[in-house]
Subunit: 225 residues, 2 copies
């Protein structure tokens, strides 16, 4: 049969990207040499430069491609016509499922986008902002009062903090499953945000009574200012 030049091309390209993501995640973009990437991918350095014009092109391909995956995931969740809370739950499940198999790319995105040229950096940041805005909008639908960006975006960033920080401690083969993390975070966030305005002392049955927060210190009011 005919020589599958295309297949080999794609396979080598995939091997290079995978090796680069792994090495960038472990030693950072600046701490990884192109010779190390080529060796890890099983190709010569000139061949690596045949596929990518320079080291930065590798980084951009990793970061931009990963953002495309996250954007597709956000779009898929939105296209299902779910009710607000079901939509929110679906989003978190989708994110954690993606994170489980994308730890390297996740780390590269967090720590190495700063090495991109300003144009490429701006392109990746724009996609990040689109993902954040989509999640912020989903949060806004959970609770009608969360309509202002000043309130929704910080809550979205707090939510992303909970799940994105997993790259520092959660392991795919560890005792806590990624899908369980999605559920814990979902419940914590919904319980934390839905029942009462933030900070205002909600009536909660507790053994030790805490001093009710003064109304003037309402964080929600501060966020909305």
């Amino acid at each position: 049969m005919a020589r599958t030049r295309g297949a080999s091309f794609d396979q080598q390209r995939a091997a290079i990207i995978e090796a680069a993501a792994r090495l960038f995640a472990a030693r950072s973009f600046a701490g990884t040499s192109t010779a190390q990437i080529a060796a890890a991918a099983g190709v010569s350095k000139p061949l690596l430069y045949h596929y990518y014009r320079d080291k930065e092109a590798l980084l951009f391909d990793i970061a931009d491609g990963y953002m495309d995956r996250l954007l597709a995931l956000v779009a898929a969740a939105s296209s299902q016509g779910l009710a607000p809370e079901a939509h929110f739950r679906a989003l978190l499940r989708a994110f954690m499922a993606e994170y489980r198999t994308s730890q390297d790319k996740h780390m590269v995105l967090v720590q190495d986008v700063k090495f991109l040229s300003s144009e490429r950096h701006a392109a990746v940041v724009a996609k990040q902002r689109a993902v954040v805005d989509a999640v912020a909008a989903a949060i806004g639908r959970l609770k009608p009062r969360f309509t202002r960006r000043a309130l929704r975006v910080p809550l979205a960033m707090i939510l992303f903090g909970m799940i994105n920080w997993t790259f520092t401690w959660l392991r795919p083969d560890g005792p806590l499953a990624y899908e369980d993390m999605a559920e814990v975070v979902t419940e914590l966030f919904l319980n934390g945000v839905l029942p009462a305005p933030l900070v205002q002392a909600a009536p909660r049955p507790r053994a030790k009574a805490a001093a009710p927060a003064p109304a003037g210190r309402s964080a929600e009011r501060r966020l909305a200012k």
Copy 2:
């Protein structure tokens, strides 16, 4: 008056560490040259090597010193004899107050500890674990059932996610104050964790009724397994 050699020594050393933390945060440890650090600190490269034996010693001084600050902050909160919830609130206030002025060190700790030698890396990680354990213990006291590490530590990491992720988006001169972040996170976490076992459908008044989570999918049960 006598030449204040000691003062100059400490000042130069502080200038070097500050410059190093700023550059490491911006371009990472591997992407920063010692010449850049020396220039930013206003000293010659040989003088920099008079204070620090190599580049890694700078990194260790930043990371280890910052962990000492966080440990001191945790110890100070514990020494006040506060009730569980007040103790928890005090901890978050103290962390966010520290983070507000330690953005560079915070980023260096997150992204560059991996460049430390294994001994120094282990020393920093041990201090990080001590901080996490202290916060996990404080969470355990909030709710007596959170007594097992399998439950407390993931919740502590979720909490650290919320506040540590701020280094990617929260700015000291931005519209949202760090002290307000502390309050929002405190309320979100307490509301999210205290009232009901995680995941089990709690009776909440909502417009749109969501499907109650099946009992078998209780995240708390999974965490505790």
